[in-house]
Amino acid sequence: MEALKLTKKDFTSDQDVRWCPGCGDYAILSTVQKIMPDLGVPPHDVVFVSGIGCSGRFPYYMNTYGFHSIHGRAPGFATGLKVSRPELSVWLVSGDGDAMSIGGNHLIHILRRNVDINILMFNNRIYGLTKGQYSPTSEIGKKTKSTPMGSLDRPFNPLSLALGAGASFVARAVDRDLGHLQEVIRAANAHKGTSFVEIYQNCNVFNDGAFSQFTEKETKDDTVLYLEHGKPLIFGKNKDKGIVMRGAHPEVVTIGGEGGVLESDIVVHDETVPTPHYAFMLSQLQYPKFPEPVGVLRSVEQPTYDEMANEQIRRAKEAANGSSSLEKLLNSGDTWTVE
């Protein structure tokens, strides 16, 4: 790692960044460029794959290998690349429309397969590049160009969808909290298997302030639940609120004081619960009834598709014991000779 002595600049390409001024994408880009040098992988062993959308431009700005593909299909390209080249560090950048509208199927399948790829999904709850139609994460009733009377579809909860698909690593971060974003992306990178990170990203042109309740000083202490492995689910300006289970259901309680609950009753966060029901319960904590969790909801080590696929190849070669000659293969089966 030290030998590389890389800096942020080594990961910054010479292309002009072309997002709207003020777009949350800038902060995410800068964060990724910043932590890259610490990951111990030289730029030429890193590949950023993206789909189409404002977020899809991300690879152009990274001085790594970059693959700006087509709308929604980035998981397909990334899977082929990673399975055939497991030694590369493969990252996937996508938007809420790219990942969950046209690309929804590829997303749930890559998560199910657990290909060792880091997915950063920029959720701005809108279609940015096509200038402001509602997206599958837009709140119900949203008035946009395509829904002048308000949208009708209930939004996806990206974390719940990912967990429903069996994702082994699921996390959330916010474009405005850079320190925490760094941590989460580092954790995603450290995880072996598909890491799914939802990033609340402000589109200041078409959906400004979609996440302001989670980013503004006045509100965020009460609306955001920072998850830390092994720590109780406590939040609030005075760290006096927490989550307990009442039977099968979570509840917000006040700690201490009269009628308050003991800190020891608060659920202690465990990102490693083998089945996803606990993380799913967390993913369902939604504002305004609950604070919304950020950080790592689930991180469970399981064999990765790329690893197993290459292991099968290795085993098959081993079983053939060096006798896999083309000549032999062609001459196998029922053969006969004409003289």
Partner: protein, 623 residues
């Protein structure tokens, strides 16, 4: 009744009659083991030295109700002492294991031909299921044929009287009775099948023994009954010396891909989604992991092609296999490979369309979709194998062009080529072309879009290569740097360059091959699976001394550079294809030629007469 002829065999009292070739069709319920019976007869005949061509004819249903018309399975083969190009137009011998098989297959066979029937199955329930009102054995339906009724099931059970197998297991052996009887009738040895049975049932030797016993019973039935006046003999064919094996198109294609991998030194990555009749390519390649072949069953065709493109980007041979509906779905992603200029091989095993159409039947109606089925100016190379064995060479050619020219290559196989089989002269590995690829490195001093002036191809740079990090994407690229460019002139330059690159491949492929006179009245221009039938038709005309030549295209985009000159030497160009005239349209659009089409869109291959007759009319000026 068949005439007695020359020849004899010790174990029979019957004379043996020599035949040049014979077409046999096995037919029965899907549960009757018809495909297996056909394959055994094929292998035995190959080993006896015949040239051969086969055609399995599966039912569309997985397993339709026993005895139903929908459940009828067929297997046709032609064996000959001459070169064989097709499984034969119409059977000389039809083996029917039940009434439904008779009902379905009777229209295929001409009057006077032989029908061998398992009479045990002609009970009233089965007769009704087959849609007959009366028993066809009794109502005169078969009066014009040579009918050999054999109580096969009963004889099978009889042969296994002493066996401990269940009734059901015993009944299942009945196809081997029929096989044994045919082995006797065609003077074949049973050892190949015996060996195969012993191997297949190595864990259940009682089943192997029972089947062998029944096969012998069938053979002996031929020996002892007086039913057949003679046996037949099809002498070994005059075949180029060498080692042979029987391959279907799908198998040959898979072997070709393994070969291309070895010859190029690159791994093959197959990203695909199952679909009839292409699934066997996945099944075959999945067994070649020891060659480093990666097979990925994706969630759909789009993910299949995308993963293949991702693998190509990573330096593998990206491969995807499908049939028509999948080709349609892949078209957007193929456009990305075109503009990114990455190698990609797309195999489309064509079947009857449009939409789900006739999914188990062959057709050649995806040619224009392969040429034009992508938005924008989006050229790709298009190849088509001529025969099952040719799939091997086409696979190698596809990889050669894809990697040399950094372009998608579409292989148009079809359900007929894919499932039928022929004898393949196994090539010596060192006669195969060198496909080795050198990835560009920083020291080469090339950017990702520095073109080779000769091929117009861009370099292939693998991620992981130090000093060459770059970004590619679906947006238009600057001619020099490859960076995104919205410049109007650059766009046209890139559009024309990509077109010129693919068009330029014409210089790098085999010239048009003519069979027959070098100029004359008619040139039969063909592509894909009609190849075999056209070869037969040409033999017919050759014998007659008619001025008819043939030219079979394996490269459809670009065409061979000399194709225009070749066509110009004939008064008429005739194009038989299993569509409404797709190659004809391309030829008309590109050359000063107005070809005549012979078009058949029935989910069935051409018969020889369907090509000979219209050409003959043309020769007579009647057309």
């Amino acid at each position: 009744m068949v005439e007695a002829g020359a020849g004899s065999r010790e174990d029979t009292a019957r004379p043996s009659q020599e035949l040049e070739s014979v077409v046999i069709r096995f037919a029965g319920d899907s549960g009757d083991g018809i495909q297996l019976t056909g394959t055994q007869f094929t292998n035995t005949s190959f080993i006896a030295g015949n040239d051969l061509s086969t055609l399995p004819d599966f039912p569309a249903e997985i397993r339709a109700p026993a005895g139903s018309l929908a459940g009828v399975s067929g297997f046709q083969l032609q064996l000959s002492s001459q070169e064989v190009h097709t499984p034969g137009d119409t059977p000389d011998v039809l083996v029917c294991m039940n009434p439904a098989a008779l009902k379905v297959n009777l229209p295929l066979i001409e009057k006077g031909k032989v029908i061998l029937l398992n009479t045990s199955t002609f009970n009233s329930a089965n007769i009704k299921k087959a849609g007959y009102e009366e028993n066809p054995l009794e109502d005169g339906t078969l009066d014009d044929y040579q009918v050999f009724p054999v109580d096969i099931t009963a004889l099978t059970l009889g042969a296994l009287e002493d066996s401990d197998l269940s009734q059901k297991e015993k009944t299942r052996c009945k196809n081997f009775f029929a096989l044994g009887l045919l082995y006797w009738l065609y003077n074949r040895k049973m050892d190949t099948t015996e060996q195969w049975l012993n191997k297949k049932f190595s864990k259940a030797p009682e089943l192997a023994a029972a089947n062998i016993k029944v096969m012998h019973a069938g053979y002996n039935y031929g020996v002892t009954t007086e039913m057949f006046a003679s046996t037949y003999e099809v002498k070994p064919a005059q075949i180029q010396p060498g080692k042979y094996r029987n391959v279907t198109g799908n198998t040959a294609l898979s072997l070709g891909m393994v070969a291309a991998s070895q010859l190029s030194g690159l791994p093959v990555f197959l990203g695909t989604y199952p679909i009839t009749p292409a699934s066997d390519i996945l099944h075959d390649l999945a067994r070649f992991k020891n060659f480093g072949i990666v097979t990925f069953q994706a969630e759909d065709e789009i993910a299949g092609v995308c993963s293949a493109i991702g693998a190509s980007y990573g330096g593998s041979i990206g491969l995807t296999s499908t049939s028509g509906p999948g080709l349609a779905l892949k078209s957007e992603a193929m456009g990305l490979a075109v503009i990114m200029e990455l190698p990609l091989v797309v195999v489309d095993v064509q079947r009857g369309g449009p939409s789900t159409g006739l999914p188990t039947k062959p057709e050649q109606a995806d040619l224009l979709a392969a040429m034009f089925g992508r938005h924008g100016e989006c050229p790709a190379v298009v190849l088509a194998p001529a025969t099952p064995a040719d799939c091997f060479d086409i696979a190698i050619e596809a990889v050669r062009l894809a990697t040399k020219y950094m372009t998608p290559v579409i292989i148009l196989s079809d359900g007929f080529i894919a499932n039928s089989s022929e004898a393949w002269h196994i090539p010596e590995v060192d006669t195969l072309p060198d496909l080795s690829v050198r990835f560009t490195v920083a020291e080469d001093g090339k950017g990702p879009f520095t073109r080779d002036p000769e091929t117009l191809s861009r370099p292939w740079i693998r991620p992981g290569t130090p000093g060459l990090t770059h970004r590619v994407g679906g947006l238009e690229k600057d001619f020099n740097t490859g960076n995104v460019s919205y410049d109007p002139d650059n766009h046209e330059k890139m559009i024309r360059t990509r077109a010129a690159k693919v068009a330029g491949i014409a210089k790098d492929i085999e010239p048009a091959q003519v069979v027959g006179p070098e100029s004359g009245d008619v040139l039969i221009l063909s592509w894909g699976s009609p190849a075999g039938t056209v070869r037969r038709a040409l033999e017919v005309f050759q014998k007659e001394g008619a001025s008819v030549a043939g030219c079979h295209l394996r490269h459809l985009n670009p065409f061979p550079a000399d194709l225009g000159q070749v066509m110009a030497k004939y008064r008429h160009v005739v194009i038989p294809e299993m569509n409404l005239g797709q190659l004809r349209m391309l030829i008309t659009a590109n050359y000063d030629v107005r070809p005549v089409g012979i078009n058949k869109v029935k989910g069935q291959p051409f018969r020889v007469s369907e090509i000979v007759d219209p050409v003959r009319r043309l020769l007579q000026g009647v057309h």
